[in-house]
């Protein structure tokens, strides 16, 4: 398998890497703003579309940009649709952990990942991004998130309307709010810690990057809806894109992802409330004819942003997902995930966020509950806050997270052994 991946690296990754270097050199002499490719494309700062001046939490402007298929621009040609990012970190847990390959039992100083993105508009109606990710722990390169869109904006009966189709590889990532599992806070976590636990619903990353789906979406006057379906990539193709081989099979048409939300952008504040779900029949092993595991994930979510004049910004986000699963032998089980988060940003630079996470289910061992705190600093990404000349295209976030566990894997005893301090540096350019 590794040989296959190495062989794949030779013909096209080198070309891509060479293209990236060439592009970086070309960008390096450009006088345009010090921002990743969407920012260069639109002429807008990171802070226009992202709360706190750094992705991925979207402001209403960012939400509209995503719905619009990533196609808005400042009307000027010649923008290179490439970006990159690097995340480095230091992780300390209260007690030593069972280390995964590539990690120590504690006090891990690591480059989590480095990624290269194609991200930009292709035509007036088509745009998107694709991420090629290098995992600094496992030393693997893989295709990560992909989202390409066709979108059209219309004016119907005096109201704005947008219709589009998203082709993506992560269920719920098509959603333009930061309350669904694919894009909810925290936006980075430690590879050397236990995060929100070992159990998760199917819609919470269960098949991410191993499927490809089409999601039709529409927004009319603040009423937003999505409907789509996903199908598994073949094990061979999964292997070629660096995801290994997973023999589960999800057939296109045998599953339905859906989402309905109502949102209002009042300029100085914005909110949305919604419901979502994914019902899927998953064949556990495609090499063996067998019944399928049946998943029914249903959730509710809401978000509020106090934007004001952007000096002080407050956001509240939450979601609740309930999963019912019937396995191939007819056994039923359930899982529930609750996420509640609040963040405050001063001058879109200094941020403090708190979050509560809870996963519980019919299996007591699935339960993980706790809280987390994040403090972060984002010095650039604003119109009047540019990085030094030698980093003239970059944006940066430095952050500190602290995770406190009340229960982990169904046990309260020893849960705090997993309490984690995570320092990270997230550079994008």
């Amino acid at each position: 398998m590794s040989h296959t991946r190495f062989s794949l690296w030779r013909p096209w990754q080198r070309t891509l890497a060479g293209f990236a270097v060439g592009a970086a050199l070309a960008i390096g002499v450009s006088p345009v703003q010090a921002l990743p490719s969407f920012a260069r494309q639109t002429g807008m700062e990171c802070a226009s579309c992202h709360v706190g001046g750094f992705g991925p939490q979207l402001t209403p402007a960012g939400t509209l940009f995503k719905m619009g298929g990533y196609t808005d621009s400042d009307g000027k040609d010649g923008k290179i649709p490439l970006s990159a990012m690097v995340i480095g970190s230091y992780t300390h847990t209260r007690e030593d952990q069972d280390p995964e390959p590539g990690l120590k039992a504690n006090n891990n100083l690591k480059m989590n990942e480095a990624a290269l993105f194609f991200a930009g508009r292709v035509t007036d109606s088509i745009g998107g991004f694709a991420e090629l990710n290098y995992d600094g722990i496992e030393h693997k390169t893989a295709v990560d998130r992909v989202d390409f869109r066709y979108a059209r904006a219309l004016r119907l009966d005096g109201r704005d309307a947008t219709f589009g189709i998203s082709v993506n590889n992560t269920p719920s990532s098509s959603d333009p709010f930061n309350t669904l599992p694919a894009s909810i806070f925290p936006y980075t976590d430690s590879p050397a810690a236990v995060g929100t636990g070992e159990s998760a619903t199917l819609i919470n990353g269960g098949l991410e990057h191993r499927v490809l789906g089409a999601v039709a979406y529409a927004n009319y006057g603040g009423l937003y809806g999505e409907l789509g379906s996903y199908g598994s990539l073949s094990p061979s193709l999964q292997s070629k894109i660096g995801q290994g081989r997973d023999y589960q099979r999800l057939s296109m048409g045998s599953n339905a992802y859906w989402r309905l939300a109502w949102m209002q952008d009042l300029k100085t504040q914005a909110f949305h409330v919604g419901v979502f779900g994914w019902s899927a029949d998953v064949q556990p092993d495609r090499t063996v004819a067998s019944p399928k595991d049946r998943y029914h994930d249903v959730g509710v979510d809401a978000g509020y942003q106090l934007l004001g004049n952007r000096e002080h910004m407050l956001t509240l986000n939450g979601s609740y997902v309930r999963e019912h699963r019937t396995d191939i032998e007819g056994a039923k089980s359930s899982l529930r995930e609750t996420r509640l988060n609040a963040s405050y940003y001063y001058q879109q630079t200094w941020g403090a966020s708190i979050g509560r996470f809870a996963t519980t289910g019919s299996d007591p061992a699935a339960a993980t509950r706790g809280q987390m705190l994040q403090l972060d600093w984002t010095p650039w990404g604003k119109e009047n806050a540019n990085p030094p000349a030698f980093l003239s295209l970059a944006n940066l976030r430095l952050g500190l997270q602290y995770w406190n566990y009340n229960e982990f894997g169904g046990l309260s005893s020893g849960a705090k052994d997993h309490n984690t301090t995570y320092l990270f540096s997230w550079l994008s350019f």
Binding site: M44, S48, S73, D74, G75, K76, A153, D160, K267, L307
Partner: protein
Amino acid sequence: MRRARIMNQSFIRPLLCGAVLAVWTANANAQISGDASDGEDVFTANCGECHSVREGKDKRGPSLYGMYGAKAAQRPGFKYSDALLTSGLVWDAETLARYLTDPRGAVPGSKMKFDGLADAQERADVIAYMATLGLP
């Protein structure tokens, strides 16, 4: 009867016209007598994501530096809609007030995705702020 005679006297009509003009001018002035400081906040919340006030910096919308008093759609290098290019508008308090109330009604075919500022005071404030952009 006496009042009617007075109204018919030749010097009254010019006076009335003058008074009407004065009221109209006062209204027009009222539109620009907003508070520029408050207008900056209104601008940031409603316009700043798509428009810069820095000279030469275009975003999804053109830079608004020095736009007050200028002809519409004149920033070199920015791709305006045909509707705005042919509008013949000059951005003053009156045209801005009309445009900001209902951009797509004032200039059908405008590319600007903005529903308008319904609050007259906010319009006055933001126009007052725009009038300061590009001043020495």
